[in-house]
Amino acid sequence: MFTALRTTTLLGMLAAGIPALVYGQATNPVALPQGQTSEKTAAVQDSGSPHPPVLDAQHRPITAGGFVKTGPIVFEDISEKAGLTHWTHKMGTPSKSYLVETKGSGVGLIDYDHSGWLSIYVVNGSTVDALTGKATPPHAALFRNNHDGTFTDVAAKAGVTNDRWGTGVAIADSDNDGWPDIFVSNVGKNRLYHNNHDGTFTDVAEKAGVQLGNWSSSATWGDYDGDGRLDLFVAGYIHWDWNNPPDSRESAGNNAFCTFRGESVACGPRGLKGEPDHLFHNNGDGTFTDVSEKAGVDDKPGYYGLGAVFVDINNDGKVDLLVGNDSTPNYMYLNKGDGTFEDVSYASGFALNEAGRETASMGIAVGDYQNNGQLAIFDTTFSDDYKPFYRNEGDGNLTDISYQLGIAEVSVPFLSWGDAFIDYDNDGWKDLLMADGHVYPEADKYDWGTSWAERPMLFHNLEGKKFEAVPAVEGTGLADVIAGRGMAVGDLFNDGKIDAVINVMDGHPVLLRNVNPDHNHWLELKLAGGPKSPRDAVGATVYVTANGMKQRGDVISGGSYLSTSDPRPHFGIGQATTVDAIEVHWPSGKLEHFTVAGVDRIVTITEGTGK
């Protein structure tokens, strides 16, 4: 039975540029229908049941192996020489007996000092000892960009150490003063760090009314009501009671919600009470009002929210809201333009994967991978499950085409988190990057075909028709085997190449510098909104025409997993040396056209100065 399965997957891996693999004996073999022919068996791609482990030639799970000695070098891990390795993320204990210890934290990219260079904010977790005052709390890091390839942690000086059980970060100019602020979500009270314009921040969350107090996860900024001020959505995960936590892995007995493949693991999320989501309307006076229920996004069922992003998914000029839920249906809310949203989760196809199964959604990436003006959605999920890729058919109708694109099968053994569409080779087609790592340390103990630490995955976009896994060349960033969680992408060195920063569970952050040896041209746009738009233009959509293609970029705060990427839309334009047209759809509703002289540059575009 497995001969055919091996052949199919082997061919898939070979097509994906991954070297020869061998398969271990499945602990729980896939059960195929009786009487199925070998030909039909060969056609099977997914069964919803435990998959046979995929091992590399050294008998490592493919998630921690499968390296090649030579091949294209896309990312160099420069974490150490950049100065990021002196700081360590910490979340609970290594045994990860409780779910709260497993989910990790996010990364935010921010030009907090108006230097024109992105710095890196890395959220930290905490420990029970720190929460109870028995130990110094782990602190978040603000790695200031020194403009020379190195970074210096200035979190303490800047006043953004958080010192709570940190989860996510969403960065935007919340008060339209021209300086980016930092929202930090926590298991506990959240922070809203207001930028003081002098390299320091002040936590104004309490006054703003956005503290909440239980398990907040991803957050996203967006002007949902078109009043020119950014509103804040905060996804809720589990209602966590530190004084009365659920069973630990060790005390759970035979609770089905505390097992994976028959082995005891941290309990949840199933069986635990969900924490509701919150939408905060920006009142424009430093305070916010919780309008979740009125707006129709209050998550009455208490689904386990992990990913969130405001973005215009149906091209009507208003930001819509996507929420990725763990082990429960995802939400897609379309903005009705009257301060409320329509829940089209099921009708759109986003709630479930194409076979109707709820997924353990973690991160959400949005991007126009076909250059047709429609934003696709990529959703990272658990191991033993493929990662859905929802093509946007227009008007918010989605079709999960992960298998057709060549992403699904390869992604099955991985447990994936942060994700983003990036054009890593500046060929004009948006590629796909994701950070991976398991929640269960037991993954290294049992023959599950996956691992606690996993390598990131990069898929090259073949002109909008297929995606091809980029091989993990030994010694490069794609061969880093890490417990990845949150991930942000952006041009950290202002060289037109998109880099990535991954927050690693209980480890140091990993900075993957893009060193792809292409000589393609590029353009990046820093947008400044006018009086009727958010000042940082979050929610704007840009179309750039060059090299015979019209590409779309969006200004987004949030998305991925617990993270915020570079706010500057980036466009690879291949061998083109001119840009034919730039079209900006501002959040105010204004449409303007701009021109730029030359390429390979970062250009600031201000609302009201175009045609």
């Binding site: 009786q34 056609a43 919803g48 479930l352 994967n353 076979a355 709820e358 298998y403």
Partner: protein, 172 residues
């Protein structure tokens, strides 16, 4: 001549059955499904939690149900090979698989190209295979459902995700 008469009789019978189906079966309500379906389904030697919000079913005028619900196999109960529990209180033929009244479970595999699911039905108590049926991608843009058993008078279809298997009611 005999063949013509026979064909006419078959057509008449089919119409009668179709009319009967249309008139007697309706979509079951959430409350009916909640009282009918188990919170934990007995599957082989296990009791697997069910996800009631995914329940769907039909009921006839005599209170007989065809109803199903998603099984929570995240912990890989029963090796995760079943995705749904199905309660049958009236004979039904699903994509060629005849099911007598009883309790069943089914799972599926996605075929290459992603246009079909191969759905395998089993007796819930023993896990004994009952048969396989193909679910095909439903044409056009369709609301994706965990499970939707459509009433026969509407469209005799069992929908899983964006895939559907036609069914027909049997005889008592």
């Amino acid at each position: 001549m005999k063949k013509t008469i026979l064909l006419a009789l078959v057509l008449l019978l089919s119409c009668s059955i179709a009319t009967a189906q249309k008139s007697t079966w309706r979509q079951a309500t959430d409350a009916e499904l909640a009282s009918l379906l188990p919170a934990r389904a007995s599957v082989e030697k296990e009791h697997i939690e069910t996800e009631l919000r995914t329940a769907s079913g039909i009921v006839d005028s005599k209170g007989r149900f065809i109803a199903g619900v998603v099984l929570l196999t995240a912990g890989y109960s029963a090796d995760g090979k079943y995705s749904h529990y199905l309660l049958v209180q009236f004979p039904i033929r699903i994509g060629g698989v005849a099911l007598k009244p009883g309790e069943y479970v089914f799972g599926w595999t996605l075929a290459a190209g992603g246009d079909d699911l191969s759905v395998h039905f089993h007796d819930a108590a023993t896990g004994t295979p009952v048969g396989n049926a193909d679910a095909h991608r439903i044409a056009g843009t369709t609301r994706v459902e965990s499970l939707h058993i459509w009433p026969p008078g509407d469209k005799p279809l069992i929908q899983i995700g964006r895939f559907g298997i036609p069914y027909e009611m049997g005889e008592e």
